[in-house]
């Protein structure tokens, strides 16, 4: 044992650079992965805790109060699945205005419940007491703080029915676990009893069959004996009571958790894939390092063998050397993960809107450490097989030369571009040594290109459309329900002023599909439904289209028959195709207006229509003319790409991803170049000395070294770009499948591909030039003779 320890100590002392590099790379990965997994776990736990504290039901549904009959109440209360059903009266709003920010989502306004937690000013803890609300004051869920960009003390104007509104001062932000997350559109907001009464009395008389005001929030608590998943409980409960069919919207606990951690999940999924790449890079660096170390220590290893060291003992020394470096990296990474987890957790809180515990999950760290160590051990084991091939006699008699340069396929050396051709020769004559570096560059460039393409995809209308999201140029909806709107007339009016590329109307609501309450988009022109993956649009009135997620949930496929029901109406439909849509994070389906009418038995009222204009320069002019003519009956919204909330939201996420991926890539490039350069420098020390003796300047030799890495990085970048052509869309599809998007149509814009290639090539060139600084400091004689 002492023999191994003695050699190990000597190796660690001599190879400090390798030790530090492996340790740093491992630490970077461990810190990122540990913190990401811990954030995920802490948030899931936090939502469950918040549910428990606020005594939220396993299913929350909102139903128009008049539809909540005694019969329905009784069937719910007598259900064998439910332990308890709670009812809360609320008023539905139709949008909000805070400063310059508007939001078209509905909020359910209600009186402050007894069990609710109020965040302190920094939102890093709860206030001990939740002060009662005075008239004109409102508590909002924390998710609205980031979504609307508002703060305590700000004013918020809420739109009620038929132009009625109410203004409040934000008194604070509360933890509302069911719909508080930024990613959930509908919200529960809290006002004083006095305000509730005033608004109710003012608006109730205006309520019509189509424009609803008064709702009841139903919280259903599952019976302890059931032990069903929230989704299954919701399905069975609905089959028994039909409450979801009558509800305007419903959400179960699983959906809440899914939606709340959706954005962090998407980001972390992409980061995790990137971390897997980085781990592959660490493995490549490790194998390269082991290979070159065995070459450099060929004689020493031969001598040790001649002294009786067995192959397995020598391999054990090398394995321990690397595993100790990784272990140190794991420890360092776990420590570094603590502040990272805290920072990521704070960032995510603006999205999830619940307060998690901080800290790294021990289980995550242990599992991660074991995986890293196990995979590394296998790689080291494979790479150290070379030790077995070392013959003591040959090593001692100087037989190592032939293992240095492995190729006869060499690039010619020319006087005209001497340094470049010499660099090329150095590369071609030691291909095996550099092939790993090319793969490393390829993986880094691939990741950088992919994140750029993601940005391009999410910033472009065509990209969004391929994912089932239409970004209109002009939105038109009517603000006066009594107005007689002839949509054909408006279409013609717009067409007279500009060429319309696309026009459609979408009405979205919650409808039961085979017993599951799902978001349904009803299109006036079903041929315009975007994001078709397989099959075709539901052009006939007995067809509909579902997402892959819904197909999986209901265990149905294209051609199958499904039942759509809403309150007392029900109809059978054939699934005509599969499409992708981020609507309700993929849990949605779509059909034409005629098909929907077949189920409801009445004509679908179109309140909203969107237009995509061919010549974008006409948008302002057309909207002004529309305003002039129809301004009293219509709300006209104009979107431009720089001020589009959807594009901006995704843009922020992509920017964060870009920073992470670019920063990690540059750090990795630095460490990798340092390591590879150090090894190459050791192996070529004599040659460098000879070149110096021949009259090459240190600057020229450094340049040659750097050019070599430039050639490698350009080659790797090209490979990375090729990989991205084949795999970027697939990788992105896998990461975004969480939000219902699986097929990406990426547009390869030159800048998105060239910028990563340039960044990585410049980094490799510069870092190699810096790493080769030793050439300048060492005398020619030392290089040759030592």
């Amino acid at each position: 044992m002492m023999d191994i320890l003695t050699l190990l100590k000597a190796n660690l002392r001599k190879k400090k650079g390798t030790f530090i590099s492996i340790m740093l790379l491992t630490a970077l990965i461990v810190s990122a992965v540990s913190s990401i997994f811990s954030v995920r776990m802490n948030y899931t736990e936090a939502i469950e805790n918040a549910f428990e504290y606020a005594d939220c039901g396993d299913v929350t549904a909102f139903i128009h109060t008049e539809k909540l009959t005694d019969e329905l109440r009784s069937s719910m209360e007598n259900s064998e699945y439910a332990e308890r059903v709670d009812y809360t009266q609320c008023i539905c709003t139709n949008g909000s205005e805070t400063g310059d920010t508007t939001d078209g989502n509905s909020y359910f306004m209600m009186e402050l419940p007894e069990k609710i937690r109020l965040f302190n000013e920094k939102a890093d803890s709860y206030e001990e007491n939740v002060p009662a609300l005075e008239k004109g004051e409102i508590y909002l869920p924390y998710g609205m703080c980031s979504k609307l960009g508002c703060n305590t003390g700000d004013k918020i104007k809420l739109w009620l029915i038929f132009g009625e509104s109410a203004e409040f001062t934000i008194k604070g932000f509360v933890e509302e676990p069911v719909q508080g997350s930024m990613t959930i559109g509908w919200k529960q907001i809290f006002i004083s009893h006095e305000d509730y009464e005033e608004i109710y009395n003012r608006c109730k008389p205006l309520e019509t069959e189509d424009v609803l005001l008064e709702f009841t929030k139903i919280s259903v608590h599952q019976a302890e004996s059931c032990e069903l998943s929230a989704a299954k409980f919701q399905r069975l409960f609905n089959q028994e009571t039909h409450i979801i069919d009558y509800a305007t919207g419903a959400l179960n606990k699983e959906q809440t958790i899914r939606y709340s951690v959706l954005l962090p999940d998407v980001v972390t999924n992409i980061v995790l894939v990137f971390m897997v790449f980085l781990f592959v890079i660490v493995l490549i660096v490790m194998s390269h390092s082991i290979g070159t170390e065995i070459e450099i220590d060929y004689v020493s290893l031969g001598v040790l063998k001649s002294q009786g060291f067995s192959e397995s003992r020598l391999r054990a020394v090398i394995m321990l050397q690397y595993l100790i470096a990784e272990l140190a990296g794991i420890i360092l990474g776990s420590i570094a993960a603590l502040p990272i987890e805290r920072a990521v957790s704070e960032l995510c809180m603006s999205v999830t809107a619940v307060l998690p515990e901080k800290g790294i999950s021990a289980a995550v760290s242990i599992v991660l450490s074991l995986v890293i160590m196990a995979v590394s051990a296998v790689i080291v084991f494979i790479k150290t097989r070379k030790v077995g091939k070392i013959s003591p006699v040959r090593a001692i008699s100087g037989g190592r030369e032939e293992i240095y340069f492995d190729s006869r396929l060499n690039a010619p050396v020319s006087g005209k571009a001497l340094m470049t051709t010499l660099s090329l020769r150095q590369l071609t004559s030691a291909k095996k040594r550099y092939i790993g570096t090319i793969f490393i560059v390829a993986l880094l460039t691939f990741s950088m290109i992919t994140v750029n393409l993601t940005g391009d995809l999410l910033a472009s209308r065509s990209g969004m459309k391929s994912m089932g999201l239409v970004i209109p140029d002009i939105d038109v909806s009517y603000n006066d329900p009594d107005a007689e709107i002839d949509w054909d007339e408006i279409d013609s009016f717009i067409a007279e002023n500009t060429e319309i590329e696309e026009v459609n109307s979408i009405e979205t609501g919650y409808v039961s599909l085979d017993g599951e309450n799902l978001a349904c988009s009803v299109y006036s022109d079903p041929e315009g439904i975007p994001g078709v993956l397989r099959g075709r649009e539901p052009i006939y009135d007995n067809e509909l289209m579902i997402t892959d997620m819904v197909a999986e949930l209901l265990d149905v496929k294209m051609g199958d028959e499904v039942t759509v029901s809403k309150q007392d109406n029900e109809a059978e439909y054939i699934i005509s195709g599969i499409f992708q849509s981020a609507n309700d994070s993929g849990m949605s389906f779509a059909m034409g207006a005629e098909a929907y009418e077949r189920m409801t038995g009445k004509e679908t009222e179109i309140y909203y229509r969107y237009y995509i204009i061919k010549d974008k320069s006409d948008i302002t002019d057309v909207s002004e003319k529309l305003n002039e003519k129809y301004g009293e009956e219509l709300d006209i919204w104009v979107y431009d790409d720089s001020d589009n909330p959807v594009l901006n939201e995704y843009g922020t996420i992509v920017d964060a991803l870009k920073i992470i991926i670019y920063a990690f890539s540059v750090i990795f490039a630095f460490v990798v170049v340092r390591m590879v350069c150090a090894k190459a420098f050791l192996q070529e020390r004599k040659d460098i000395g000879v070149y110096k003796a021949l009259g090459f300047t240190a600057g020229r030799l450094r340049l040659g070294f750097a050019i070599r890495f430039l050639i490698l990085s350009i080659t790797g970048s090209v490979l990375g770009a090729v990989l991205s052509v084949f795999f970027s869309a697939k990788m992105l599809g896998a990461a975004l499948s969480l939000i219902g998007l699986s097929k990406m149509v990426l547009e390869f814009i030159a800048g998105s591909v060239i910028i990563p290639a340039v960044v990585i090539s410049v980094c490799f060139f510069l870092f190699a030039y810096i790493a080769a600084g030793k050439i300048k400091r060492i005398q020619a004689r030392e290089l040759i003779t030592e």
Binding site: E401, E402, Y404, F405, N410, V413, S414, G415, K416, L418, L422, R425, Q426, S429, A430, K686, D687, G689, V690, Y691, K692, A693, L694, G695, F696, T697, A698, G699, R700, K776, Q779, A780, R781, E782, I784
Partner: protein
């Protein structure tokens, strides 16, 4: 009157060791003359190679001056030393030190390419001439590991002279060769000297020293003896060897 091509003045070289200093060269003063085949002899550890490296600018002296063309090369910048190496100085190593992934042709040509006075085509032509002169033109595409030590050393000589250096430094060029190859290499150096090439060679081999026109003896970092000889001729080898042996004996060799 011979013209001095390079002069050492008060040259010292010492290394730090265990907190103290080891003095390898101690205040050396001497001139190297144009057209001479100067050989420095001395026992192991006397500082022969260190002196050669200090004079050629391969290593920096701790103190003192090495005057070449009126300039002290100890003090000149790295870039200027590099220029000297590919314009005015040539160097032959004991272990040849050919670049392992370049063919023999390329090992010679690569030095030539540094010389901007010649075009690439002219360098290639000159390389071919030298390959032929060194009798290694048939193996010019071979890598160093594929040829014998003697062939490698001939290639190293060709590389050292491709830029027509004013001074050729040779560090025990026959030290790693067998007798036959040693003789071949020494004959090549003699031929070059006869053609006017100034040479400074370090050796502890008397057979190599026979080729010298001037002998210097180094001991404990100081030059303690000097002897001038006529041009080498094979017919006088025996008497020359006796003369040198007797000189060395007087220096307690």
């Amino acid at each position: 009157m011979k013209k001095a091509i390079l002069s050492a003045k008060g040259l010292c070289k010492s290394f730090a060791h265990n907190g103290g200093q080891i003095h390898i060269l101690s205040h050396i003063d001497f001139d190297l003359y144009e057209g001479d085949f100067t050989v420095i002899m001395g026992s192991s550890g006397s500082g022969k190679s260190t002196l050669l490296y200090a004079l050629s600018g391969m290593d920096r002296a701790t103190s003192g001056e090495v005057i070449y063309n009126g300039r002290d090369i100890v003090k000149i910048k790295e870039k200027e030393i590099a220029k000297l190496r590919h314009t005015d100085f040539g160097f032959i190593f004991q272990q040849m030190h050919l670049v392992s992934n370049l063919s023999l042709f390329e090992n010679i040509a690569v030095s030539g390419y540094l010389n901007k006075k010649r075009s690439s085509q002219e360098t290639k032509k000159r390389t071919e001439e030298l390959l032929s002169q060194m009798s290694i033109d048939h193996i010019k595409s071979h890598l160093p590991s594929q040829v014998s030590g003697g062939e490698q050393q001939r290639c190293a000589i060709a590389r050292a002279v491709i830029n027509d250096p004013k001074l050729l430094f040779a560090d025990e060029p026959t030290g790693a060769l067998n007798r036959k190859n040693s003789e071949d290499v020494l004959s090549l150096l003699t031929e070059l000297n006869r053609a006017g090439q100034s040479i400074l060679m370090v050796t502890h081999d008397i057979r190599a020293a026979l080729r010298a026109t001037r002998l210097l003896y180094l001991e404990d970092g100081k030059i303690i003896g000097e002897m001038n000889l006529p041009e080498y001729s094979p017919e006088e080898e025996q008497s020359r060897e006796t003369q040198i042996n007797s000189w060395l004996s007087s220096l307690k060799w």
